[in-house]
Amino acid sequence: MSHDSHHAPVACKTELAPERSDLGLIRPDRTTGWLDWLTTVDHKKIGILYGAFAMFYFLVGGVEALAIRTQLARPDNDFVTARMYNQLFTMHGTTMIFLGVMPLSAAFFNFLVPLQIGARDVAFPRLNAFSLWTFVFGAFVLNASWFFEFAHLAGWFNSFEWHKALVYTDFAPANGWFSYAPLSGTFGQNGQALRFTGVGTDFWIIGIQVLGIASLAASFNFICTIINMRAKGMTMMRLPVFTWMTLVTAILIILAFPAITVALIELMFDRAFGANFFNPSAGGQPVLWQHLFWIFGHPEVYILVLPAMGIVSEVLPTFSGKSLFGYPIIVFSGAVIGFLGFAVWSHHMFTTGLGPVPTAAFSLLTMAIAVPTGVKIFNWLGTIWGGRVRFTPPMVLALGFIWMFMCGGFSGVMHSSAPADSQQQDSYFVIAHFHYVLLGGVLLGLMAGLYFWFPKIFGRMPNAPIAYIASGLVILGFNLAFGPMHYLGLAGQPRRTHTYHAGNGWETWNFVATIGAYILGIGVFLAFVNLVWTAFRGKKCSNDPWDGRTLEWSLPSPVPEYNFAQAPIVATRDAFFEDKHGTKRIGAENDGGEAGVHMPSQSWMPLLASAGFLFAGFGMPMMAMGIPHAGWIVVAGLGVLFIGIWLWALEGPGGYMLKTPAASGTPAPTETVAH
């Protein structure tokens, strides 16, 4: 993706910032090739990388899901062992949430937010690269547990002393995605730290910790960007709804993640140093883990779903040819959902015996959160009402989102009633509920976003017939897979159990669910293949193929690295749509001038600092395995992290000037660069 052809880069690079730091290190300035992708600070490229990794992990998590469904296809099955089954469902949940949905949302944040607010980059471009690579390495550490597991199964470790000393040998995490103590913790007096589970839990602890750092850094950056870098005239109530939901999500992340960070530190101290936070035999309270986890975990649900709601709020108006119905109410509802999200965590814990007053309070608050969600649904319906609806692939997926998410919402309200919930707890009914929310809701929303913005990202249009087929398969397969689980759950099938006996009346619907899961898998795979093919070989399309409403559609596709040749001045909501069809035009600041646009320099340092987490992340589970001298890997990792941050600080702000077409007097180019 080179955009060098139509302007001279680097007008006065040396004048603004020395390329050479105090230590004589030179900052890279390639704009193509692998070196560029490793050192880039361009929010668009970082977004594409986030998206690529997220789609890869979606497929990994999908394979894990299909293995689970294959095992459950018929009673008393032995496709995988119970031990392997535990690891599969744990890694399926963890992968889908932390490595699939969150990074795919982050891909949209990265690519879209600066374009939608009329900015040239995020507030801290290098911090953004740091978030990306920290996520990549955190994901790597988490999934490396599979390699240890396979090596163990293949018997490669058998001759080692440390391996003979292990009591439990589940190398991949096996506690479920919320890793409840005491199963994930320890027992025994005076620091014996006897563990219930193997080093998989240590991989999980450090992996989630590193991923949390990535999410926190990204969220600080995006709040700062949205609050501080809006174009002239882009007031808060003119922000596109997707940007608003990004802001709410980022605020949720910075306030919710510290709880899991502390919980993970405490669990790590229990397992590694014999502390007693969750150790029941020394007075620790395992229920504290549940509280800390869900204080994070429930806002996390909204962290997952709000970006998808933002995407749908962009797709529906575009293909209904109307502005969003009740914009202020949609924004306010999103903020209320975010706020209430912090006040409902104990509805995951009704069966722990909270007492009547907290149970009633959390029940009521959980029911209350259905109100702003319902308001949003009605606003979306109001948006479609009376519009000229175009059933494009993104629109089909967005409509699917509304329908499926609503079903998930209904079963959610059922859970909010504590007596009903105590019957449904740990049954397949719960599985059905949150897959309707997270898959029928979030995945359909994110897929709608992919099909909606792919023409902007790559300047190429995804194949529509394949997109319709894939969408149909996803929606059909999804309902076949998870619809029956409502029944199975109410008929008593427990979740997280690797098999079931014949004669419970569960055989038929489990088989149907497995068929549905495979159809769903084929649908998602087809949709992703279509997208990947589009990115490289798809048909070229115009800059504004959907008659878009927000600022990003006013730019060439693919978007040039400086985004806006001249910073826009916004006079209204849906600025680009008004510019095309209304009376209020988008203005232009004459900010580039003769000097051109100020661009941030690339850097190795975010990658280097993140690599510290990679070493430290590998070292800590290896310490737990009892591998000799593994502690030094952790020390080395923290050293690399420190050196990375230190050199990063010494680099100084950097940057160079880039001549844009507007500054050099030529008209804005319609992108024709061959790929």
Binding site: N190, C224, N228, P258, V262, L292, P653
Partner: protein, 222 residues
């Protein structure tokens, strides 16, 4: 000390510098972080007011363990370091680099005294029989105060690097003052958190004859 690509040129939408805003956001997040740790400690104090049992099997009470005079002294030192930090920030805004260096050296020195007191305190408590492993109290106390100590240590390291960086002549002007101010925000926050910890972990143990939590025993057992 960190990156802002166009921050020194383009005015921001709110008029607040990016660096200052992101530090405030980080501190908001850190509030939740310490809030969780302090809650853990207080929950367990309420649940197990009786303290801990040492290696010889004697029941120990936290009031007998604490050396409140020493901790008050280190708290005072940390408070005074915040005062010096404010002077350093002010000096930097006026472009008085020498005054900045003097004050920041004072902050570093006081920070190190605080850390020294904490190391002494931890060693002392350990020899008195409170370990991270022998009780829930030990776990929550050491992890909570140790995490705060880590924050102080990071702050000291940051200020030491900034002190030496000032000799390169590149720490100056608006951006230099901003960098120092951001470090100052962090330092003041760490200080305020200590005041909360000092109150919630140390001082409340002295309310009433058996502390605010009681001893969990029928008789006064001190």
């Amino acid at each position: 000390m960190s990156d802002t690509a166009a921050a020194h040129e383009a005015p921001t939408s709110t008029g607040i510098d990016h660096k200052k805003l992101i530090m405030w956001l980080f501190l908001a997040s850190d509030c939740m972080f310490f809030g969780t740790l302090i809650s853990t400690h207080l929950l367990y104090r309420k649940l197990y007011p009786a303290g801990f049992t040492d290696a010889e099997g004697h029941q120990r009470f936290i009031q007998n363990l604490f050396n409140i005079e020493l901790t008050s002294f280190s708290t005072f030192i940390l408070l005074m370091s915040s005062f010096l930090m404010a002077l350093a920030v002010s000096a930097m805004h006026k472009g008085q680099i020498k005054s900045f260096r003097r004050n920041v050296l004072g902050v570093i020195f006081f920070g190190l005294i605080f850390l020294g007191c904490q190391v002494f305190e931890f060693t002392h408590f350990y020899h008195q029989g409170l370990t991270i492993q022998n009780s829930v109290l030990g776990s929550t106390f050491y992890v909570l105060t140790g995490t705060h100590g880590t924050h102080v240590a990071i702050g000291v390291l940051w200020l030491i690097l900034m002190y030496f960086y000032s000799f390169t002549g590149k720490l100056g002007g608006h951006m230099g003052a901003l960098d120092v101010e951001v470090a100052g925000l962090y330092w003041h926050f760490v200080d305020i958190v200590w005041i909360i910890i000092f109150t919630a972990v140390y001082l409340v143990e002295y309310l009433g004859p058996n502390g605010i939590w009681g001893t969990g025993l029928p008789a006064v057992a001190k």
